[in-house]
């Protein structure tokens, strides 16, 4: 009983971590926090993959001389190894987008930015600048 609970305990916590990452992405309005949430989500997916590759009593997949060694599955390791490096490159891309948003709007809070956009939109309606032109043509 204990052994079987521990056997799927990893999955439960990994799903909890995933949901915490998802909550940081959809529940928080700060863009930096959203990117951190994506990182958390990403790492939990990595954990899920590596957990699938584990074999009880296995060794790391580096060949040794004895014949009857059980090696853990190397395929998830390869997939995750490249995904980590690609993940940090795309995180840097997201951070640079956040920096540009900050220099355009002066804020990285989603509420501020949508409020500024709303002000712009109402101004355009008041002055009849762009929207009227579109209707006339």
């Amino acid at each position: 009983m204990i052994s079987s609970t521990i056997g799927i305990w990893n999955y439960w916590i990994v799903f909890c971590l995933m949901m915490i990452g998802l909550f940081l992405v959809i529940g928080r309005k700060n863009f930096l926090k959203k990117i951190v949430g994506l990182t958390i989500f990403q790492t939990s997916v990595f954990l899920l993959y590596i957990t699938f590759g584990k074999i009880k009593g296995g060794t790391p997949p580096i060949l040794n001389t004895s014949i009857d060694t059980i090696y853990s599955n190397p395929l998830p390791h390869v997939l995750i190894l490249t995904a980590i490096v690609v993940g940090v490159a795309t995180t840097a891309l997201g951070l640079s987008l956040v920096l540009r948003i900050n220099s355009e709007y002066g804020s990285i809070e989603e509420d501020d930015i949508s409020a500024q956009d709303l002000v712009d939109y109402h101004d355009e309606i008041e002055t009849g600048k762009s929207i009227d032109l579109k209707f006339k043509q």
Partner: protein, 142 residues
């Protein structure tokens, strides 16, 4: 630049061993844990440490950004080039068997070259990312 002499001298002492460790991880990746991705990041961390302690300008004097950009592209070109060489020699794209005298030695040569290309690209991308973030000049309006 940092005024603290302990930081400056220990950076100068640590710089070469970090790069040596990176090269070890790069070329020992066939036999133990390691490979191009990890080695690239370790070599990049040496240059980033130098830039943090001595300032971004000194870091750019040590490793000019135009060389950085050339090497950034060269890694991918080496990787693709190995594939095209094996195609020219009469095998499929990225099939290394034909590169050496026997299939096994061909695989060894191919994997070594490919990992080198990966390491070159990753290390230069990381250095370029750090330089871009550190020298980003925003005009603050506040």
């Amino acid at each position: 630049m940092h005024k603290n002499p302990i930081l400056r001298i220990s950076t100068k002492i640590l710089f070469a061993p970090i790069i040596l460790f990176g090269l070890y991880v790069q070329f020992h990746g066939d036999f133990g844990p390691g490979g191009g991705f990890q080695a690239g990041v370790i070599v990049a961390s040496a240059f980033i440490l130098y830039s943090i302690v001595f300032g971004i300008e000194e870091g750019k004097k040590l490793f000019p950004s135009n060389i950085n950009l050339i090497l950034l592209a060269l890694g991918g070109i080496i990787y693709g080039g190995v594939g095209f060489v094996s195609m020219i020699l009469g095998d499929e794209f990225l099939s290394y068997n034909i590169l050496g005298s026997s299939p096994q030695s061909g695989q060894h040569i191919g994997i070594l070259l490919v990992e080198f290309g990966v390491g070159l690209t990753v290390s230069n991308v990381m250095i370029a990312l750090f330089n871009a973030f550190a020298s980003y000049n925003t005009i603050k309006e506040k």
